[in-house]
Amino acid sequence: MRSFRVQVNGNSYTVSVDQVRKGKFHATIDGATFEIEAVSELEIGAWLVNGQEETIQAHAKSLPVGRVDVWIMSMPFQTSVQVVGIGGYALTPEPQRVVSSGKISALMPGRVTSILVKEGESVAEGSPLLILEAMKMQNEIASPLSGRVKSVLVQEGASVKKDTMLIIIE
C-alpha cells in the first residue's frame, strides 16, 4: 500500500493505493474505497472507477513534476500528486519547512532504521539521507538541498523524538 497527497482545486486529499493486480487498484479516500481499473493505456489513459453506487469513466494523463490531469465524466481537474508513504498507514506530512540551513530534524517521533550517507559525502537535492520508521512506515528523508554532509548526529537503530536534529548538510 502506498499513500499519496493529492491537491485538487486548492483542496488536499490523502489517498492510499493498493495494487490488486496489473492495471487494477483499490484506492481509499476519506474512508471510502474505490475499485479502479485501467481500460486504456494510450497517452491519455482511460479508467473505470467503481464506487459504491455506480461506475464512473475517468481519464488521466501524467505530466512533469507530479502534475496529473484528470477528467471525471469529461469534467477536467488539474491535480498535483506527491508520494507520502509506503506502508500500512497514510501519512499526512506537515507543511513543508523551509530548511535553508540544511539542518535536518525529525518530522515525527520514530526509529532510525538506516542511515544512507556518511559524513563528508556530497549529496544532491532530493537524494535519500536516512529512513525513519514511524507508525510502521518507512519514511525516506531526502536532502532539501545539494551540498556536503557535515555531520550525522544519530546512529542506526536510535529512537528519536520529534524535532531531534538528525543530519546537517552544508
Binding site: V8, I56, M73, M75
Partner: protein, 529 residues
Amino acid sequence: MSYALQGSTAILHYDGLTLFSNLLTVTAENFLLKMKLLIANRGEIALRIIRTCRKLGIRTVLVYSEPDEGSLPLRFADERYPLAGSTPAETYLNIPKLINAAMETSCDTVHPGYGFLSEDERFVRTCEENDLVFIGPSSAALEKLGNKLQARRTMKESGVPVIPGSDRPLKDEDEAVRMANDIGYPVILKAVYGGGGRGMRVANSPEEARNFFRITRLESHSAFGREEVYIEKRLQNPRHVEIQAIADKRGKVVSLGERECSIQRRHQKLLEEAPSVALDGELREQLNDAAKKGLSVAGYTNAGTVEFLLEKSGEFYFLEVNKRLQVEHLVTELTTGLDIVEEQLKVASTMNLDLSQSEVHVKGWAINCRINAEDPRQNFAPSPGKVFIYHPPSGPGIRIDSALFSGCDIPECYDSLIAKLSVHGTNRSDAIRRMKVALDELEILGIPTTVLLHRDLMRDEGFIRGDFDTTYLNKVLPTLKSSINEFEKIAAVVAAVEKAKTSSIHPKCMRGPSSRWRTVARTHLMTGK
C-alpha cells in the same frame, strides 16, 4: 392536400375535391432539385441543414468566418465561401456580404439557421429584393410579429391570451410605476426589441420599477439599438411550453406538437422535451388551437414556434413567437418522425404545405440536453478552447447534433452551444434512462461543459417526477455543486492511482510483455548468429 403524377398530368386531391391539371406538373421534388442553398450560419446547425440538403440532392454553399475555417460543416457543403473577418458583425451578421455570397455562387435560396440573422426583418427584405427565397416567414409576416410588443398585439387580436401588461411602449418612469402598481408586483420590464432571453428585468416594488425601467432602457439601447420598453406581470413559477408549427401562404397551419422547455437558467433553455408532462388532452388542444390561430392571423409562413407560459392552474399566456428553426427542433423530429428542415424547404419552394394535421402523430418521448462550453464550477462562464478527444454516444434512440471532432477548436466569439444530445424512448422514464447512458458515454475532453449538470438532472427526483417550472433549475444548482465536490474526490483518487501506476517502485524491472521476437533476437545475440 396530396397529389399524384400520371404522365404530364397532376391529379390533385385538395379538401375532398379531386382536380386534374396539366399545368401543375411541378412537384416539390422538382423544385428542390433545382434549388441551390446558401447557409448563413455555422456550427452544428449548418451541418444539420447540410444533411437534409444532401439527402434531397440540393446543392449547398456554406459561408464561413476566419475562426471557422477548419470547421466540420465545411467538409460536407458542396461549396464554401469565405467571409473576411472574425467578428459576427463582419461575417454572419453582415447582410451585404451574405447577399453578395449568394449572388456570386448563384444561390436562389437562403437558410438562416437560428440566431444571427434568422429573424432579422432587414435581412429577409433584402433577400426578397434580390429574388432570394428566404427559408422562414415573409417580411410581411415578420412585420406583424416583428417585435415583442407587436407580436403581443397580433396575438391579442386573434384571441390568444396575453399576460396582463402594456400594449405600447412606456413613455417614462412615472408611467412604468403607474402601470406596475395597476398590474401588481412583481412585474417584468422588457425591451420591445429584446430577444434571446436578454433585455428583461423583474421589479418587486415601485422603486425597482422606476429604476429598472431606466436600466432596461439603457441596456436595450446598447444591445439592440432601440430603447422602447414595456411592462408585463411576472407570473409566479410558470412552465414554459411551446408549440412547434409549420404554415403555408394559404393560411394552412399544422402543429407538430408541444415542447416542454422549463429547465432554464437566466432565461436560457438548457433541456427540452416533447411532449410535456403538464399537458393533458384538453389543455393540449387549447394550446395547439391558440398557436395555430395566432400564426394564421399573422399570415405566418414556414416553421415557427409559439411560446407560452403555463400556470399550475392551467391558465396559459402567449409569450413570444420564434420565427425560425429552433435549437430544440430535434425533439419534435424524434417524436413525429419528420425532418423539419425538409418540411421548411418544401413549403418554401412549393408555397404549399403538403403535410396535413392528421398525418402528424406524436410517438414516445424525446429529451434534448444542450451541451454548452460553460464551466458549471465557474458560474457557467464560457469555456472556449481545444477539444482533443470527442467521442459521441450512439445506440438505439440516441441522436447527437454537433460539429465537434477530436482536435477541434471552440472559438470564443460564438455561442457556447457545442452539442445537442437527444434521446427518444417509449415513454418519459425510458427516455431518461436512455439519456443517462448516453451522457455517460459522451466524452468531450479539453474544456469544461454542462454534461455534469445534465447528469445530475437525470438523477434529480423533481425532474424525474416531472415536477418543475422555469425557476426549478436555480433551486437544484446547489445539488450540482455537491456532486462536483464528490467528483473532485474521485479525481484525487484517479490522480493517485495514475501516479501509482506510472511511478512503480521498481520501474526498471517493469518490462513489456515478453515476445517471441524478443526471445529469438536475444538468442541470436547470445549465440552470435
